[in-house]
């Protein structure tokens, strides 16, 4: 698809190097350190008390908070997929791709946040419907909710590369939803 009249295929090419995962949230490091030493951050490495992630990230850098929220969303969806696959073994193979995507996304996010930030997440209990069709329908709704949540977080992200990462995760979730709908 290279232009015949101008040089290169810059119109569709993408040559920008993917930003290091560690640098995505580098801006948060300073804030985390400051907050931790000031004793006002929750779940910081200098504080033994563990608290829910949603509260823990409240005082941290905005993008660290966004990352932690994304991890919580993803872990909740991952738990829903796992529970659905365990309850309905016939669906397990169909859910493998969804589960792999969630795990890859969580791994990328956990790798992105500064050391010491609690990304364990707190998934709520997920009740799987008795009938497979209903279970799949409920799971689709859960995945749609995850997608919408990721889009919302991408909108909140201050770092452009991090917004792109979250947008990519949302798009990947849409692809999986497309597969679940078939």
């Amino acid at each position: 698809m290279r232009s015949q009249t101008r040089s290169g295929d810059a119109n569709l090419s993408f040559t920008r190097r993917w930003t290091s995962r560690r640098t995505l949230l580098a801006i948060g490091l300073g804030t985390v350190a400051t907050a931790a030493t000031a004793g006002c951050a929750l779940n910081n490495p200098l504080h033994e008390e563990k608290t829910p992630t949603a509260r823990a990230v409240r005082d941290l850098d905005p993008d660290v908070a966004v990352a932690a929220e994304a991890v919580t969303l993803l872990r909740g969806a991952e738990a829903a997929v796992t529970a659905t696959g365990q309850r309905h073994a016939g669906l397990a193979a169909r859910l493998a791709g969804v589960l792999a995507a969630h795990q890859a996304h969580v791994a990328r996010l956990v790798d992105s946040v500064p050391d010491g930030v609690d990304t364990s997440g707190t998934a709520t209990a997920y009740v799987v419907p008795e009938r497979p069709a209903a279970a799949l329908a409920q799971l689709r709704a859960t995945e749609q909710s995850l997608h919408d949540g990721l889009v919302g977080l991408a909108m909140r992200a201050r770092s452009g590369p991090f917004a792109r990462l979250l947008g990519a995760m949302a798009a990947a979730t849409s692809q999986q939803l497309h597969g679940l709908a078939r």
Binding site: F14, W18, G97, M155, R164, A171, A172
Partner: protein
């Protein structure tokens, strides 16, 4: 990359996509490959709409929207499989362009880019693409 530069890159990509999907649609047979034809036609309409929306947004920002090239290099287009492959390639490239747009914008522009990225990622599956872990980033 500034927001307008990213929009210009996306517009250039959409110019190419509109051109290519026009050619791909012309190569497909509506009677013999109705499903493929319908997908190509739908993609053509979507990309034309996005091209127009980007042109308006860039002009509203006070810049001159980039023009389309006179023509674009075409891949081999002899079979339905080759038409599918070419369409998939276009969608993958445009998804990366929208990934860049997400990265370079904020607010309404970013939301628009997120929708476009999402749509392109799903459209890849319609052209026999497989789900990716991070569409629009590689």
């Amino acid at each position: 990359m500034t927001p307008v530069e990213a929009q210009q890159a996306a517009l250039a990509g959409e110019h190419a996509a509109v051109y290519l999907f026009g050619v791909l649609g012309a190569q497909a047979s509506q009677s013999r490959q109705p499903a493929l034809y319908a997908r190509l036609l739908d993609a053509f309409h979507v990309h034309r709409r996005r091209r127009d929306q980007l042109s308006v947004a860039i002009a509203a920002a006070g810049a001159e929207p980039v023009a389309a090239e006179v023509s674009y290099d075409l891949p081999a287009l002899g079979t339905p499989a080759e038409l599918n492959d070419a369409a998939l390639q276009v969608e993958r490239r445009i998804a990366r362009t929208y990934g860049q747009l997400v990265e370079s914008t904020a607010g309404a522009e970013r939301r628009w880019a997120l929708v476009a990225l999402d749509d392109s990622a799903v459209r890849q599956l319609e052209f026999r693409g497989t789900p990716e872990m991070f569409p629009g980033t590689a």
